[in-house]
């Protein structure tokens, strides 16, 4: 009886020590869960999910406040990736939060632009350049196609066009 208890206690101690050592020695998962979720998001910062940007949505997903199916620009693929990461049931994007669309970029009709700077203030990634009373334009490489500039425009001169895919490398 005593021997058995001793052996078990010894085993428990030894295992505990081994676990402590490995915990100290092995590289730790330094990335926070929010960071890992955020990395899977398309970073369009469009706010369609109801949060003011991708990282806030990631934080909400991790805390359980938001579901994983609210990212329309990411599409079903992002939902699947999030499900794989978090061990949830994969599904499709909830149509309440928008419909997955092919990549797009904003385009300003410069002949109609009155230079009001409202779209510049709305752009989450500073992809619109221009100054008051001067025509604005979109830096196409940086535009995420989030559509946030469309609503503030008083003359409705912004529309979204499909993003040209980069030509295959020669």
């Amino acid at each position: 009886m005593l021997i058995a208890a001793g052996v078990l206690a010894g085993l428990a101690l030894a295992t505990g020590a081994a676990l402590w050592v490995t915990d100290r020695r092995l590289p730790q998962q330094t990335e926070s869960p929010v960071e890992r979720v955020n990395r899977l998001l398309p970073q369009s910062q469009c706010g369609q999910c109801g949060y003011p940007g991708c990282r806030p949505y990631a934080a909400a997903v991790v805390s359980g406040a938001a579901d994983i199916d609210q990212c329309a620009p990411g599409g079903d693929r992002t939902v699947t990736e999030l499900a794989n990461l978090l061990g949830r049931t994969p599904g499709r994007v909830n149509p309440e939060f928008g419909r997955p669309a092919p990549p797009q970029v904003a385009h300003i009709d410069e002949s109609a632009c009155i230079g009001c700077t409202l779209c510049i203030a709305a752009c989450p990634v500073d992809a619109i350049v221009g100054a008051a009373q001067l025509a604005h334009t979109v830096v196409r490489q940086e535009c995420t196609g989030c559509e946030l500039c469309v609503a503030p425009c008083p003359v409705d001169c912004i529309d979204l066009k499909p993003r040209e895919l980069p030509r295959a490398a020669a």
Binding site: Q43, V125, A169
Partner: protein
């Protein structure tokens, strides 16, 4: 002369038709010279419409610092136009159309050096760039870049092994101009400061081997050695040849010269020698016209820009009405949309396939995991696992299994008993991985821009708040201060303190 043991991988083809005749193709009335015949950026046109050009005059130049190669006029004549046209292997490229005058007058802008080996290394390197020389094995990588390694290279490999079956242009060149090739090898050795040059030819090129061995003997340069490689496909691939000849494997994602060996096609060496000795840049190359769809297969020394149609006509024309043109060999070649396309620096072979050769591959059946594909893969990939990952659209797994190392040689397709088009899937997988990497890059940029903007907005808001707070804090709320402020606001003239005891305003 050394003969190597065959590698474990690859496909052993029946000996292909050997020794096609080398003929010189006539200069056509119209040349279509693409300005994008090489890896990198297309060359900028250096001529304008209506201008007269001479043979060997530069018509396209490379911007400073950009990857590319110069393009020269293949014959003398007048520039008819510069248009965007389809070019072999490309959807569209700027193409200079030259109406030749039939005189073939040479341009004298480049000097001929009777003894090129006495030139300084820098001058030789510059010459390779000036002459617009690119890898003539079919990849068309600018040769100047590959020769500009500045040390660390001990072996030069001259590739005359002809990767694909049926291609015969290297053998024809070796037989016709062995001295030129060997001089090119010596020049390249000087540029690279390397001490060994292995000239690889395919086992079975008997006449070329004999000619070359004689030429090496006559030259008496013991740095040059002839090696016969077994006729196994794809032994003529750059990485495969380096591995077979030197035993050094190029690391995944690495470049061939990381192994300390530089591989150049024999025709590239000959072009370098020709430019230095005669001052003639790269304006012609040898093209093999072969296949069951052409009456008299032959090799042609053709000017760059010659329409493929004219070469096929010179080779006796099509045997039937429905022949398919393939640029490159039967294994890796790309089908051409028509025969109006011109010969480029990359055109080593035009395979004219008869209708019966473009047979149905047969129905694709499920993978039976026989492993033949893995045995034959020259880069030791496991196509059966890659196939599975591709079917599941598992990009991470594809990456892990090394799909980027696939050279798309098609050997696995060839041996697959289930007739699965493996290579096509791997090419698509590579594209998907690149697309994903691009998207990730975009996302990272968007994120950092978003964060920078948030930080800026916060900073501005904080600065504004600080100013407001400072103003609020500056206001003194004590009664004395309030009285002083009140008094400061009162106009002293309105008060009239000494005019009387009553408080009546002065006006009454």
């Amino acid at each position: 002369m050394k003969t190597l043991q065959p590698p474990r991988w690859g496909i052993r083809f029946e000996r292909a038709r050997n020794g096609l005749e080398l003929r010189t193709a006539a200069v056509p009335a119209t040349l279509q010279v693409s300005l994008h015949q090489h890896v990198g950026h297309f060359a900028e046109p250096a001529v304008s419409m209506g201008e007269t050009v001479l043979r060997g005059q530069p018509i396209g130049t490379v911007r400073e610092g950009a990857l590319g190669a110069r393009v020269h006029a293949p014959s003398s004549g007048q520039i008819r136009s510069i248009e965007r046209l389809p070019a072999p292997g490309r959807d569209a490229a700027p193409v200079v159309i030259i109406d030749t005058d039939g005189k073939d007058t040479p341009w004298s802008g480049y000097r001929a050096h009777p003894r090129p080996l006495r030139l300084a290394t820098g001058a030789l390197r510059q010459a390779v760039i000036e002459a617009g020389i690119v890898g003539l094995g079919g990849a068309a990588f600018p040769a100047g870049v590959k020769l500009n390694k500045g040390g660390g290279v001990d072996t030069l490999i001259l590739n005359g092994a002809e990767c694909e079956p049926c291609i015969n242009c290297d053998a024809a060149l070796l037989q016709a101009e062995p001295a030129q090739v060997l001089l090119g090898a010596q020049i390249m050795l000087r540029i690279l400061e390397a001490d060994t040059c292995l000239v690889a030819i395919k086992d079975g090129m008997h006449s070329a081997a004999a000619t070359l061995a004689e030429a090496i003997q006559a030259l008496g340069d013991d740095r040059l050695r002839l090696v016969r490689v077994p006729p196994v496909y794809p032994v003529g691939g750059e990485a495969q040849l380096i591995q077979l000849l030197t035993g050094r494997e190029i690391p995944a994602g690495g470049l061939p010269w990381d192994s300390g060996a530089v591989c150049q096609n024999v025709a590239t060496a000959a072009a370098v020698a020709r430019f230095l000795t005669t001052g003639e840049p790269l304006i012609s190359r040898i093209v093999t016209i072969t296949g069951n769809g052409v009456a008299a297969p032959a090799n042609f020394a053709a000017r760059i820009g010659t329409p493929i149609r004219e070469l096929v006509a010179a080779a006796g024309g099509y045997v039937g009405p429905e022949c398919t043109l393939v640029m490159g060999g039967p294994m890796m070649g790309v089908p051409l949309p028509g025969d109006n396309l011109p010969v480029t620096k990359a055109t080593n072979c035009i395979y004219v396939a008869a209708p019966e050769e473009i047979a149905e591959r047969g129905t694709e059946r499920p993978c039976i995991r026989c492993g033949d594909c893995a045995t034959t893969c020259p880069v030791n990939l496991m196509p059966q696992l890659l196939l599975q990952a591709g079917q599941h659209n598992d990009l991470d797994r594809l990456d892990e299994l090394g799909v980027h190392d696939c050279i798309e040689c098609g050997a696995c397709d060839y041996v697959c008993p289930s007739r699965i088009p493996l290579t096509r899937g791997f090419a698509a997988g590579k594209q998907a991985l690149w697309a994903r990497a691009r998207e990730r890059l975009r996302a990272a940029r968007a994120e950092s821009r978003f964060e920078a903007r948030e930080a800026r907005l916060n900073r501005n808001a904080n600065a504004r708040n600080a100013v407001l707070e400072a103003q609020v804090a500056a206001v003194d709320n004590s009664p004395q201060a309030a009285l002083a402020a009140l008094l400061a606001r009162v106009d002293p003239d309105d008060v009239a303190p000494d005019s009387g005891d009553d408080d009546t305003p002065a006006g009454q």
